[in-house]
Symmetry: C2
Subunit: 194 residues, 2 copies
């Protein structure tokens, strides 16, 4: 049989496309093999198991999002930067729902540490420098922003906002306004007294 020219990157790419089409949870090694015109067992020349395929899609998504976030943040600060970062995630999820879901796939500690995951936290932290928060508030704010962005995107993706007439874009804008307001005006922790 002729060589099919498969490698782990192509499997990952195909799995990512499939995820966006049919949902990350529906992605299966068999489906990927089928789409590439190879037999299931051939997968195992390139990946260890089906889980690795999902992990690779997760890593791809984290990296794509981090790259897009970095591009969106370039040259921006303050609320501008906040909005740019937030929209990067939301837009990515709209365009690549399967990959976005993949990005929430649970990685083991080492894989997570080596992934683009930490870059996201770093970018959020960088953005927050514009708000001049003392530690540990800055860390808390990183968590608040990550939580709200992810929560909003995932609820919206799940359709939770479709039952109320209010436009999801408008609520999103209001949410970002509110976060910006809160971070700018949140009572600062007492500075150490003299």
């Amino acid at each position: 049989m002729a060589r099919a020219g498969i490698n782990a990157a192509r499997l990952t790419q195909t799995a990512a496309e499939l995820a966006d089409e049919i949902g990350f949870d529906q992605v299966t090694g068999s489906a990927v093999a089928r789409r590439l015109g190879i037999k299931d067992p051939s997968l195992y020349a390139h990946i260890a198991n089906a889980r690795e395929l999902k992990v690779r899609v997760a890593l791809l998504a984290l990296e794509e999002m981090a790259d897009q976030a970095a591009a969106a943040l370039a040259g921006r600060a303050g609320k501008d930067a906040l909005v740019a970062l937030a929209n990067t995630y939301r837009d990515y999820a709209k365009k690549h729902p399967g990959r976005y879901t993949a990005s929430r796939f649970e990685l083991d500690a080492q894989t997570a540490a080596a992934s683009a995951g930490p870059r996201h936290a770093e970018m959020t932290r960088a953005l927050l420098r514009g708000y001049d928060l003392p530690e540990p508030d800055q860390t808390d704010a990183v968590r608040l922003l990550g939580s709200t962005f992810h929560g909003y995107v995932s609820l919206e993706m799940a359709g939770s906002f479709r039952h109320t007439p209010r436009d999801a874009d408008a609520s999103w804008a209001w949410t970002l306004d509110t976060l910006d307001f809160a971070l700018r005006n949140h009572p600062r922790r007492d500075s150490p007294q003299a």
Copy 2:
């Protein structure tokens, strides 16, 4: 063969327990049947398919959380109520991680409408009356709170906060402080001019 005394409720209960032990994604009809000492095909006398089992666990979780939220909110208002509601979700997720994950399982529109899901939104809305927001801000705030609560809980559950020394409880408290502050002080939309 003797009757095993199975019904849909017992299947659901068992599936929920299993979810908390091994993770919602790992719950399988076979595993539930195994635990109950029956054969796989016997499941189908009680449920239509494996998806229904997951849907039922999701509905159970939504209802348990709604009941606990209602109890926690009783007699509270303002920030007190906000904290009580938020902690209900976070505590439930800590105690029942599999069920919590199940509660995010995507339901079709009709099932979702008939579920306890809407109660959650109503309770959040009720709580927000203490903040006296005009519409559509109130709706936006419902979405903000839902997003932040869910986002925080799901990131924490996924271990995203374990890599930074800052205590997750402390960040949570700060987050709730910040939301309360934002909702109390957020610039109100202009009232209609005379």
